[in-house]
Amino acid sequence: MTVSLTIENLSAHYGSTQVLKDLSISVAAGELVSLLGSSGCGKTTTLRIVAGFLEPTSGRVRLGDRDLTTLPAHARDIGLVFQNYALFPHLTVMENVAFGLKQRGIAKPDRAKRAGSMLDRVGLSHLADRLPSALSGGQKQRVALARALVIEPPLLMFDEPLSNLDAKLRVDMRVEIRQLQKANGTTSLYVTHDQEEAFSISDRVAIMNAGRIMQLDTPEVLYRKPANAFVASFVGFENLVPMKVVSRDGATVTAEAAGGAKLSFSQDVFGPIKDDFVLATRADGLVARQSGEGIPATLGTRTYLGRAYQYKCVTVAGEITANGALSEPFDPGTSAVLVPVAEQCCILDPEA
């Protein structure tokens, strides 16, 4: 049985500080959605409200056709995986996993059977009688995962579950989490500050800032088509150049950056372009050339990237990072033109 999670118009305050501002998200049945953002953006607050540990100022939380908003935390039936594992130190691995089943009044033999087969799935049956203190970090997180999954919750939530593990284990564990989540088809909410982790594990990612969702989309769309300047710089668009349209000729729009550099854009490629917009590119969206239509620049430090050179450039429109072909190396101090590569560029509404 898979159900959807709906968070509607959630607001929350700590004292007089508003930490969530009218936040709404839907997680479809069986989907894994990540909340991604730096610390203090409200992602953990959102998770704790859904879990029932915090009370929102306003808004509703629904799971399927159940309204969770006023339900006490222990009656919500949500599987939680914590950053610091939060295993019961006084119980064995087996007892940890069986804990939730015990609360549900499941008889001992059945409990042992189900907890046992869950431990099997995470590959820890041989450690069933150990205490958590005798486990490694990765093993602890597997036990925590088994403990949350064994109760077959309609919703799984992860609070930075991999932050305490080393880099290699982190990659292995996220694959494992994703496989288990997909196999069970459990609707999941995943909180992390690690972009790579969020993008690799999620169906959709909500990028959050200051208590709001800036964009909720698939990793592919977020990476290629950020909706606003915040998301663009979050996913690595180094160059955000404000532009103003100076003339329109059919589908072709000519716009000017600060300092007078003119560039033209096709509305057939970018869709309708407003009079004021921001040109967003990564370094590979602007190519340093001898000549062409682009932003005039003085090239600075050259870095060898293997597939291209990268230059720190000074332009009339500000500092810009651009790439250059290996076949055409420029020395620092050379004047060049930074030519946009249309398919690597985004045109953003500065109001968005």
């Binding site: 879990a51 029932g52 540990f53 006490p72 935390a73 222990h74 009656a75 919500r76 039936d77 949500i78 599987g79 939680l80 914590f82 950053q83 610091n84 939060a86 295993l87 019961f88 130190p89 006084h90 804990f99 939730g100 609360q103 549900r104 925590a144 403990r147 949350a148 109760i151």
Partner: protein
């Protein structure tokens, strides 16, 4: 290979140990002396002063009172102290800082003042009978140990473990009993022992709160000494010491003594 110790340091350490242990040796010696007055070294050996304790009904009765008061007072202090320590740690951020200081007041206020104010308030003010006011007084006296020692255990407890239990369907009170308590067990036992020993040895609170027909053993020892200066006092002291040593031995056997000093 042995570590080199400066002879003066060695001598100093020996003096400290002598200073700590000599009074105990003297008390044990005096309790065995076959004389009708306190003396050391003992002249002749006898156990009759120990037998004498049990013949004096006042010692018997006050010993029973002392144990009852110590156990009930300590239990009452834990009943108040454990929830207080829990709240102080769980809501550390939300609660004002001075609140935790409030719970150590019985240690900070001179005991004689504390005892007198208890007499004024609960015995005279509320007219509470002697026995319950004695228990309540001791409970308040040892409350700081309950709050502090249990609090130290809770400070090392990860409260997300509690949230994990709740998320798995365990109601809050049951979570406290089955998840939080087992993990602070050592602190609760340590608090009990410290509080028990403090209570059973207390004079200054008890002196105000004891009354007609109800007294504690330390008060009785003082009273007895004012009238008789015989070795019975020494043998009662030895028995009190043995109780303390016995409690420590149980702790050592079950938990290891180190956890008391952690």
């Amino acid at each position: 290979m042995t570590t080199r110790i400066h002879p003066l340091l060695g001598a100093f350490a020996a003096l400290v140990f002598l200073f700590l242990l000599a009074p105990l040796v003297i008390i044990v010696g005096a309790s065995l002396s076959d004389t009708s007055y306190l003396t050391f070294p003992p002249q002749g050996l006898t156990l009759r002063w120990f037998a004498n304790i049990f013949e004096i009904s006042a010692f018997r009765n006050t010993a029973i009172t002392s144990f009852q008061v110590a156990i009930l007072g300590t239990a009452l202090s834990l009943l108040m102290g454990i929830p207080a320590a829990y709240a102080l740690n769980r809501y550390r951020v939300e609660l004002p800082k001075w609140l935790s200081t409030l719970f150590v007041l019985p240690i900070l206020v001179p005991e004689i003042v504390f005892g007198f104010s208890l007499l004024k308030s609960i015995t005279i003010g509320f007219g509470m009978p002697v026995y319950p006011s004695l228990i309540l007084g001791h409970a308040l006296l040892v409350l700081p140990y309950s709050v502090r020692v249990v609090g130290a255990s809770l400070a090392a407890f990860d409260f997300s473990v509690e949230e994990a239990a709740i998320s798995l369907g365990c109601p809050p009170l049951k979570t406290f009993m089955t998840v939080v308590l087992p993990n602070i067990r050592a602190g609760v036992i340590a608090a009990f022992i410290l509080a028990f020993i403090t209570s059973i040895n207390d004079v200054s609170i008890s002196v105000f709160l004891t009354g007609p027909g109800i007294s504690t053993l330390p008060i009785q020892i003082l009273a007895h000494m004012e009238q008789f200066f015989d070795p019975t006092i020494a043998s009662v002291s030895v028995l009190l010491m043995l109780v303390t040593v016995g409690v420590m031995a149980i702790v050592e056997a079950t938990l290891g003594l180190t956890f008391l000093t952690k």
